[in-house]
Subunit: 104 residues, 2 copies
């Protein structure tokens, strides 16, 4: 195996909870905090912590707004986040491919 | 994305250092601690800690022996470890494939 393959994996994304969040966000233009929590089956606290980590990395934005007089938080990937996720998935693909090769 | 995809990822293997160790071991019948350390570019302490975690999960064995009167530690995957790694890589593949699909 070429050993730089795992070193290429973005530590911010390479956590099961955050992988899930990034994958859901990558598949949609925006999603509410509530819908994201339901989709991922996470607790409020756990999701909030992961979102903050991703926000601090510049990978997503959280917009606090209202819908029918109720608070609504909208989550969106930034261009940086979308690019980082694409790079991460490509690194995973190379890792998977490397495990299919016979050793040199 | 089907959300159970990230939940299927084995936490013991899903750490960059241990992913690397498992991939190297999966590609060889056995490898010495020294060769593994050189291949992965890890410190003794870091590699020892990860090997212990994998050993406690039943994924590898460490055999302390000698070669030309010098101590030699041989690392090998167990059948359980090989099977767990295969399952892990398959879960990664499904995750990668899911990111290629358009949302429903």
């Amino acid at each position: 195996m070429r050993i730089d393959l795992t070193q290429q994996l973005d530590r911010v994304i390479h956590e099961k909870g955050r992988m899930g969040i990034m994958a859901v966000l990558a598949a949609s233009s925006e999603i509410s905090f509530t819908d994201l929590r339901e989709t991922l089956g996470m607790t409020d606290g756990n999701l909030t912590t992961h979102l903050r980590t991703l926000q601090e990395a510049g990978y997503l934005t959280l917009e606090k707004t209202q819908h029918q007089r109720r608070p609504l938080t909208l989550c969106r990937l930034t261009a940086t986040g979308r690019s980082a996720f694409t790079t991460y998935v490509e690194a995973l693909e190379r890792f998977v491919a490397s495990t299919r090769q016979r050793p040199e």
